[in-house]
């Protein structure tokens, strides 16, 4: 998890467990992971509104718990809703703070080298 927009439930560095069963209906209150066209980093927010047709076509709106407004401003220009195809997964569970290591390694290359160095030491020392 990269940002604090879902605090206090989740914090930067928490590791989420996702499922992505297409048959799972999208309903309000659920936490979905979605991607916006043209953006690399997926967003993890809660479903605020859904409008679903008889045939299963659905359009929905999301919002981060910690944000004052919904995500419409984040979507692509002219895009007002998300659709099933934008969904990458559904958050079913999580473990706190584990991912902070990968985030620190990304933000601070020296930390990454330190971790790799320590790992290397660890392997050497335990080679029996």
């Amino acid at each position: 998890l990269f940002s604090g927009s879902m605090e206090p439930a989740f914090h930067r560095g928490d590791l989420l467990f996702l499922t992505n069963r297409i048959e799972d209906p999208i309903r309000v209150g659920e936490i979905v992971v979605f991607r916006i066209e043209g953006r690399e980093i997926p967003i993890v927010h809660r479903v605020l509104k859904i409008h679903e047709k008889q045939n299963g076509d659905i359009k929905f709106l999301t919002k981060g718990d910690n944000n004052a407004v919904d995500d419409r401003g984040l979507y692509k220009r002219g895009q007002h809703w998300l659709e099933k195809k934008d969904v990458v997964g559904r958050a079913r569970g999580f473990v706190p703070y584990i991912g902070i290591v990968t985030i620190l390694m990304n933000d601070y290359p020296k930390f990454k080298y330190a971790v790799l160095f320590l790992l290397g030491l660890f392997v050497l020392v335990h080679r029996e």
Binding site: A9, G29, H51, G93
Partner: protein, 155 residues
């Protein structure tokens, strides 16, 4: 209090915008579920949620959502209000005359004359670590919208 207003700027076409004022009474510590009273002008829900604030519950994400069907869409769900309740917060809610936090827009004009709009209180249990279940409380309340739009501009 229910009003339906025509022609409020939305994503594209004119869509119905509903106004609902509500009270919420919920007692999260005690273990009884029940619907207490329904009044035509405003509704009062008495929800006694089970004691779920155990050692692994960090917070509850509560949300009041409206669910209904329209000609345009078989299923619509709109969150009207939400609240984060941390472990340690007062588990008894006694909120009166609440206005909805989020605009209750329909996708189209399906609120007009819709007698079957149901409000439900649900919550997402956020643990310290583990599964994230979504629970719906018992005690649905029906909010029938009038057949005509409100013409006065007093929201």
């Amino acid at each position: 209090l229910r009003k339906n207003v025509e022609d409020f700027t939305g994503p594209r076409e004119r869509s119905d915008l509903g106004f609902v004022t509500f009270d919420i009474t919920a007692d999260i510590l005690n273990g009884k579920n029940g619907l207490c009273e329904y009044n035509v002008v405003f509704f009062l829900t008495c929800l006694h949620l089970q004691s779920i604030f155990d050692w692994n519950v960090k917070q509850l994400f509560l949300y009041l959502s409206a669910e209904y069907s329209t000609k345009n869409n078989a299923l619509n769900q709109v969150v009207l209000w939400d609240k984060i309740m941390l472990r340690g917060d007062n588990p008894r809610l006694f909120l009166k005359d609440m206005k909805s936090k989020y605009f209750f827009f329909d996708d189209g004009n399906g609120l007009k004359g819709n007698r079957n709009v149901t409000l439900t209180l649900s919550w997402n249990v956020v643990p310290n670590a583990g599964i994230l279940p979504l629970v719906t409380g018992s005690g649905h309340v029906s909010v029938p919208f009038p057949d005509t739009y409100e013409t006065t501009k007093s929201y």
